[in-house]
């Protein structure tokens, strides 16, 4: 019997929203793991916070934990700690983990909790119809800051590097194949895996063209095991180029092993 990961719930993302590409990439990743026999479907748990990204849990016929806004990360750590044989992934957003839940994602990275976080970074609060998040560019005009955001944006990959995450990647939602591959790498990684998925919001902050011009993929010349190289690449997001791929990977004991 073919694996059917869909539910009866109608998808309510905007037509053409890159969230659907992320959903497809994840379903493919799961299907490939299951058909290869490397992960059993019932041993996967997918968490989500609240925001447009969080709708994903209703569209997946697997174990899910749809948490509050900003609070998915500690619940995922709890799930992994309670049952280490589970593969635990979490979908989150820039508002969901870098505005509201910032302390949780940083501490989970610091403690190397063996979970994967897929950050849908659209640089805007979309479900509340367009306000600046912690990753919105300075000057972004949203409903709560009509004269433009006065803050510099947070660079998620840089924060994750500084906090000690052991797997850090960046991908572009429209490249479903590469996103799927990176998701798989993250899920196989033993330790805290952080994947920033650039997910332009086609309704409130359409950055599709901006990123299409700037995204490039790291090749084998990038030394992903080297922290200095990783910092250099992570920082480049503010420049003209946006490097994607696995930025950093290392290994150390996980939180769940040490507790």
């Amino acid at each position: 019997m073919a694996l059917d990961l869909t539910t009866d719930i109608k998808i309510t993302w905007c037509a053409g929203c890159p969230n659907s590409q992320i959903l497809v990439a994840f379903r493919q990743a799961v299907e490939e793991f299951v058909s290869a026999g490397s992960i059993e479907i019932h041993n996967i748990v997918a968490g989500a916070g609240v925001g447009c990204h969080g709708k994903i849990s209703d569209y997946l016929e697997i174990n899910t934990f749809n948490s509050l806004h900003g609070r998915i990360v500690p619940s995922l750590t709890g799930i992994k700690l309670a049952n280490p044989k589970l593969t635990v992934v979490g979908f989150s957003g820039d508002g969901d983990s870098f505005s509201e839940g910032f302390s949780h994602i940083t501490h989970a990275a610091r403690s190397n909790s063996d979970i994967s976080i897929f950050l849908h970074n659209n640089q805007v609060f979309a479900l509340t119809t367009g306000q600046a998040t912690a990753t919105s560019p300075k000057g972004f005009k949203g409903g709560t800051m009509p004269e433009g955001s006065i803050n510099e944006p947070i660079n998620p990959a840089l924060i994750m590097l500084a906090m000690g995450a052991t797997f850090i990647a960046r991908t572009f939602a429209s490249d479903i194949k590469r996103t799927k591959e990176i998701m798989k790498e993250a899920m196989l990684h033993k330790g805290f895996a952080f994947v920033e998925i650039i997910q332009p919001c086609i309704t409130f902050f359409d950055t599709r063209e901006y990123y299409k011009e700037r995204v490039y993929w790291l090749d084998e010349k990038h030394k992903k095991g080297n922290l200095d190289c990783a910092f250099k690449v992570a920082r480049m997001k503010t420049a003209d180029k946006v490097p994607c791929g696995i930025i950093y990977q290392t290994f150390k004991p996980t939180f769940e092993e040490l507790v």
Partner: protein, 573 residues
């Protein structure tokens, strides 16, 4: 001097005072354990400011051959490690009270007109090269001498009491203190040490009893963030984690605490959290998540005096209504308030079991005076075991997490089980656990959740929702809850007329019929609470329409003391 006749019921009280860091608290536990080993029943409380060095700390122990439920203010013995301890407690000394004072400070207090027994605690510790924090061990010896205990027996007892901290040095200090007062010719009491007594129990505080209650009900994981007065539960469980496989986590903040705990429960581990009222305030949104997602969780909330940081190390019963209304939205919950150390054990076990039976958040509500006061207890640990609730997942059928059932309880499965998909969510949801907004779906799922209360109403018959004491026939009825129980049971001995005492333990769901039955026909009803707004009286009025006019309220961050409470109640009867 206090008239010793006011507490002439065979109860004696000893206080040990000093600056923070002088070890008054540890000495209090050691003295309690000594008395407990001798066959006395003890109750001890600890008063300390929120600082690490300086300030005035004291431990106060009341003991008797009969059970003691609260410590008395009036002292038979004072051990003063500094001069301030004498100044603070001089007006609480009974006629003929023994006051052991650190010899180094004798000159500062010698003109107060109090008989003092100088004890060179500091010097003795120096002579034996013992750390100064252990200096009260010589007072332990001095006190043991005055009790009339032979030196060899006292040394044996000290060996047992100090076993955890290295007894050799402490036993040497005990012997020095003993011989010092012997040489001074301090008179010994006519020995009234119990020769016949029941089982010698353990000296335990409420926080440890709560931990033991959770463990008895099959606790597998505990999550907490330090906050007075809840911290010692976390530390006690953390200490045993390695040996037992219990998962104990101290994450970044209280919000993470409850979210992490819900993750563990969702994945099938019987989990509890502990916090103080302020920490629980941070958990509100997640408490509501536990309600809607029906993830079982037991939560210990230990109250201290608020609002905000309040009086951080002192007691209050100011959060009953907060807990009853905690979390946004409407969902069933369980709130149980134990009144003594034994009840802490029983109620914590019940809270964890019922959280799992009904898949809801269950709060066990304590306070500083209950959580951190020690009592001689023998816990009936065999009386409580794990109750796993409705776990069976129908075989062959499509599993849905939130199945609509007659009793409101849906079969509970965990991720990791083949052919089962477990979807938990913060959104209102359908049986599958997918978000819904349809009005019929929204109403149906709420009705399902609230039907679980019917089961809890049936459980009223099996659990101590309300307890009564004293003169059950009396038309004078006194209602109270939580740690106030201790002072109330002691104050009863000093009431000028008979009275029935009614303790409310289950706050939600509320056993309204039972309360109505206990209060109806009363000529005088008196409400006793350690808060400003009479929150139990408000609850009783809400649930039974009975208005209580006579209130004894205390909100100075100190627990009731028996004599003072009796005086207040006597004004109404």
């Amino acid at each position: 001097m206090t008239d010793s006749n006011t507490t002439s019921n065979g109860i004696k009280t000893i206080a040990i005072g000093g600056a923070a860091g002088d070890g008054a608290r540890e000495a209090g536990i050691n003295f309690s354990e000594l008395l407990n080993e001798l066959g006395y029943k003890t109750f001890s409380s600890f008063d300390y400011p929120s600082l690490i060095r300086g300030g005035h700390n004291f431990a106060r122990i009341s003991y008797s051959i009969e059970p003691v439920y609260a410590d008395y203010k009036e002292l038979d013995v004072l051990v003063a490690v500094n001069a301030e301890s004498v100044l603070v407690h001089q007006h609480s000394l009974k006629e003929g009270a023994r006051v052991f004072v650190e010899e180094a400070y004798l000159s500062e207090v010698k003109d107060l007109g109090i008989d003092l027994i100088p004890l060179p605690m500091k010097k003795i510790a120096e002579e034996l090269k013992a750390p100064q924090v252990a200096r009260t061990s010589s007072a332990f010896g001095a006190y043991g001498y005055t009790l009339g205990i032979p030196l060899n027996q006292l040394k044996m007892l000290a060996d047992k009491v100090y076993a955890n901290v290295g007894s050799e040095m402490n036993v040497a200090l005990v012997e020095k203190g003993y011989n010092h007062v012997k040489k001074l010719g301090v008179p010994q009491d006519v020995c009234d040490i119990p020769t016949e007594h029941g089982e010698i129990g353990e000296v335990m505080d409420g926080n440890k009893a709560i931990a033991k209650g959770f463990l008895a009900a099959g606790l597998e994981a505990y999550v907490g963030y330090p906050m007075t007065p809840s911290t010692s539960t976390l530390q006690f469980l953390a200490k045993m984690a390695k040996k037992t496989g219990l998962k104990v986590v101290h994450p970044e903040d209280e919000i993470a605490v409850l979210n992490m705990a819900l993750g563990m429960s969702y994945a099938g581990k019987r989990t509890a959290v502990g916090t103080a009222n302020g920490g629980f305030a941070l958990m509100q949104e997640t408490f509501s998540l536990a309600g809607v997602s029906e993830i079982p969780i037991a939560i210990m909330v230990a109250m201290r005096m608020g609002p905000a940081t309040g009086v951080a190390t002192h007691t209050s019963q100011g959060d009953l209504q907060f807990i009853l209304h905690a979390g946004h939205g409407e969902f069933p919950r369980l709130v149980i308030a134990p009144g003594d150390v034994e009840e802490c054990f029983e109620c914590a076990a019940d809270a964890l079991n019922l959280a799992w039976k009904y898949q809801l958040p269950a709060v066990i509500l304590s306070d500083k005076h209950l959580s951190e006061s020690y009592k001689s207890v023998t816990l009936d640990t065999k009386s409580k075991g794990p109750d796993f609730g409705k776990r069976a997942v129908p075989v062959g059928s499509h599993y849905v997490r939130y199945k609509i059932t007659e009793d409101g309880i849906s079969p509970l499965a965990f991720p990791g089980k083949a052919n089962v998909v477990v979807k938990a969510t913060s959104y209102e949801h359908n049986e599958e656990g997918e978000a819904v907004e349809d009005k019929a779906d929204v109403q149906t799922m709420q009705d399902k959740r609230f039907r679980k209360l019917n089961g809890l109403y049936q459980d009223f018959a099996w659990f101590p929702t309300v307890k009564t004491y004293g003169d059950e026939w009396s038309d004078v009825v006194i209602v109270f809850w939580g740690s106030t129980k201790g002072a109330m049971l002691e104050a009863r001995k000093q009431l000028k007329s008979p009275a029935k005492l009614v303790q409310v333990l289950w706050m939600e769901p509320f056993d309204a019929d039972r309360i109505k039955a206990e209060l109806s026909g009363a000529r005088v009803i008196i409400d006793v609470e350690a808060n400003h707004t009479a929150q139990l009286a408000a609850l009783i009025r809400e649930k039974t329409s009975i208005e209580i006019h006579n209130k004894v309220l205390k909100y100075d961050a100190q627990p009731f003391t028996p004599t003072q409470l009796a005086e207040e109640i006597n004004k109404f009867i």
